[in-house]
Symmetry: none
Subunit: 217 residues, 4 copies
DNA sequence: AATGAATGAGGTTTCATTCAT
DNA sequence: TATGAATGAAACCTCATTCAT
C-alpha cells in the first residue's frame, strides 16, 4: 500500500476537508474556549496549514457558526422521529428519547457543542439565540408533550411541565458539561454508563405517580 | 482655581479596592470568558483605570485565581456548620444544605464562579483541580454522608451514593449555568424560585424510599 | 538641555502624536502607495511603536482618510480668501492664486496628497469622490470664475473655460506628480522654481488675448 | 461519456496567452496599484486560473516588468519615424508628434502605463529608471529637438527648451492620469477629444512667437 | 498546458503589561 | 496611589507562490 515514491508534501482532499476542519475546531474550541483557541491549533489537528482553513471558512467566527448550526439539529430530528412513531406508555417514550440523546450526543464528540454554547453565549448572543430556539427549546417542547401526556394519563404526577422537563434532563446535561470540564481531572473519571442508568432511574422516580423503587440493575 | 484640598484627582481606597476589582472581574469573566475579557473593561466596572489593577493584582491570571479561591469556600463552610449542628431527619438536613447553597450561591453573583470554572477548566487545569477538590468534591463528600445516613436509616432508597449526590444537585447546578448563559436571552426568563421548589421536590422524590407525592406548594 | 538622567524609554506626547503620525503616514503612503506601506514603517518614522498608531487612529484606512480630509482644504481656503479680497486685473489674480497654491502645496509635503489620491482613487472611490468635489472641483470653480471674468473683459481670449482651467494648471500639477515619482531618480533633479516661472509664463501666454512675448528672465 | 475529442477541459493557447495576461495585468494594476492587485483577479480577467500565470511569467513582479518594457517603446518608435520623415514647419511636426502620442497612447489602454509607473516609482526604482530613460527622456529629447528648431527658425519664441517641452506636454499627460483616476467618478466625464483640441491650441499659443489666436475648430 | 488546493511568510490588529507623569 | 500613553508579543488573516492532479 505504501508507495515507493516519497510521500507528497500534501494531499488534495477538497471533499473531506470541511468536516475534518469542523471536527478539529470543535475539539479545540471546546477545550480552550473560542477566544483562547488558536486557529493554528485547529489547522494542525486537521492536518493542514493555517491558510487552508480560510479556503473553507471565511474566518474563526464562521467556523464556530458552521459548527453549531450543522451538528445538533440532525440529532434532534432523530428524536422527533421517535416521538412520531411511538405508541404506548409515555414513560417508555421518555426513556427512548433520553436514551437517543444520550447515545447520539452525550457519548459523542457532539457533546462539546452544548458546553461551547454555554461558555460563549455572552459573546455570541445571536448564535446563542439560534441554539436556544432551534435546539434547546425545540427539544424541551418535544419532551413537554410527552410529559403532559403522561400526566394526563396518570403515569406521572402533576407538575409544572415546563419546569419538570428542564429538571428531568438536568442530570444528563450535567454529565455532558462534566465530561468537557472536570472529568479529565478526576482521579477515577466518572463512569458514564452507570451515571446514566442511575440518573434515569432517579429522574423517572422524581416524576412517577407512585414510588417505583426500581433499582439500577 | 487650583485648590489644594478640594476634589482630588483620585482617592485612596486601598481597603475596598481589591474586593471591588474582584467583583468587577467576576462579572466580566463570567460574561465574556477569561480570554475574551478585557482588563480595561474590568477596570472600568470597578471605577478605576487600567494601571490601577496592577497595584492590587499581579496580572489577569492572578485576578482569576484570587476570584476562585476567595469566594466559594466560605459558603461551603456555612454548609459544613449546618451539618455539624444538625440533629434529626436526613431529609431535613439535605433540604437545609441545598437551600443554603441555593441562597448563598445560586442566587448571588457567586453563581458565576462555577460557570467560569466550567468554561476555563481546559485552560487552567491547576486552578480547576483546586476547585474540584476544595469545592466540588468537598461539597459532594458532605452531602454523601447525609445521603448514606438517610439510606441507612430507611429514609432514602438504596442508590450508589456518589452518583446519587451528583444527580441530586444537578438541577440546581443547571439553574446556575442557565442563569449565566441562556437566561438573558429567554423571552420570559426562568422563575428561579419556582424552579428551585419543583427541583427540590423532584430530586427528593427521586431518592425517597417511598413515593412522597408531595406537590410544590 | 540634556538631562543627566538616563533618557526614558519613551515620552508621553499625547498632544503632538496625531500630527506626527499623519506626517509620517503621508510620507510613507506617498512613497510606497497605501497597500505597500507598512504600518510599522509609519510608526518608526513617527518615533513610536506599532501599537501606538492604534491609540490615535482606528486603523490603516482611517489614517489615510484623516490625512486626506485634514490637509488640503485649509490651503484652498487661503486661495478663496485671495479671490474675495482681490480687485484689479484678472491676470494678476490668476497669478496670485496659482502662486499661493504653488507655495502652499506644491513646495510643501502636502504635495504628496494629490499624488496619493491619484494612485488610490481606484481603491477608495468614496474618498476620491470627496477629494474630487471638496478640493479639485472647488478649486476649478474658483479659477473658472476668474478665467471667465478675464475673457469677458478682454484680458483673455475666448476658450471653453472649464477646459481652459484644467489645462492652465496642468503644468503645475505635473510638477507635483513629478516631484513624488521620477524626480528623485533624475540625475539633475528638476529646478522647481525655474519650472514654475516658465510654466506660468507659457500658461498665461496660452490664454492671453494677444501674444505677450514675455521671457522668463 | 468520456470523449477523447469533444470539449477539452482547457485549450492550448500558448501563442495568445502572454498578451492576454499582460492586458489583464495592465488593467488590474492600473486600477488597484501593484501591491493591492491580486493575481487571481488578473488570471480571472485573462480567463485562466491562478496557476497558469506562472506558466508564462515567473511572478507578479515579472508581469509588471514585462508590461512596462514591452508596451510603450514601439509607440515611441512611431513618433521617431515621424520626425525622421518630416520636412516642413516645426509647428506642424510638433502637432503630428503630439497627435500620434495622443492617438497611440492616451486614447488606448496603454495610457495606464504612465499612471502605473507614476504610482509605483517609489517601489520599483529600477524599473522607474528604465521608464524614465527609455521612454520619458527619450520622448523629451525628440520633442526638444523640434522645439529648438522652431525657436531657431523663429516659429517659437525663445524659452528654455527642456522646460518648455515638459510644460508643453503636461496637459496631455494630465488627461492620461485623469482618465485612470478621477474621470470614472465625474458626473459628466471629460470629453477627451475636445480637451485635446483645446490643450493643443493653448500649448501652441504658449510657445508661439506671436499670438496665433487660433480657435479650436 | 492547465487547474485550483495547499502552503506559509508577512502584514494588520489586539490587548496584557509597563512606566513616565 | 493613580493615571493612561506607550509598548510589543501574539493572534488573525491575506495572498503570492508551489505543486499534486
Amino acid at each position: 500500500m505504501q508507495d515507493v515514491e516519497a510521500s507528497p508534501r500534501w494531499q488534495r482532499r477538497a471533499e473531506e476537508r470541511p468536516q475534518e476542519l469542523l471536527d478539529a475546531a470543535l475539539a479545540v474550541f471546546v477545550e480552550r474556549g473560542f477566544a483562547a483557541a488558536r486557529l493554528e491549533e485547529v489547522a494542525k489537528r486537521a492536518g493542514v496549514s493555517k491558510g487552508t482553513v480560510y479556503l473553507y471558512f471565511s474566518g474563526k467566527e464562521e467556523l464556530l457558526k458552521a459548527l453549531v448550526q450543522s451538528a445538533i439539529v440532525p440529532q434532534l430530528e432523530n428524536v422527533e422521529a421517535l416521538a412520531r412513531e411511538h405508541s404506548g406508555a409515555s414513560r417508555e417514550l421518555l426513556i427512548k428519547m433520553v436514551d437517543a440523546m444520550w447515545r447520539g450526543i452525550a457519548l459523542s464528540p457532539l457533546s462539546g457543542i452544548p458546553k461551547l454554547m454555554l461558555s460563549e453565549a455572552g459573546n455570541f448572543p445571536e448564535l446563542a439565540r439560534f441554539f436556544l430556539e432551534a435546539v434547546i427549546q425545540r427539544h424541551w417542547a418535544l419532551m413537554r408533550q410527552v410529559m403532559e401526556e403522561g400526566m394526563a394519563n396518570g403515569e406521572f404526577r402533576r407538575l409544572p411541565a415546563d419546569l419538570a422537563v428542564r429538571i428531568f434532563v438536568a442530570p444528563m446535561m450535567m454529565a455532558v458539561f462534566w465530561k468537557h470540564s472536570f472529568m479529565p481531572l478526576e482521579e477515577t473519571p466518572l463512569d458514564m454508563e452507570r451515571y446514566f442508568a442511575v440518573a434515569l432511574d432517579m429522574s423517572l422516580a422524581g416524576i412517577a405517580a407512585q414510588a417505583t423503587n426500581s433499582t439500577t440493575d
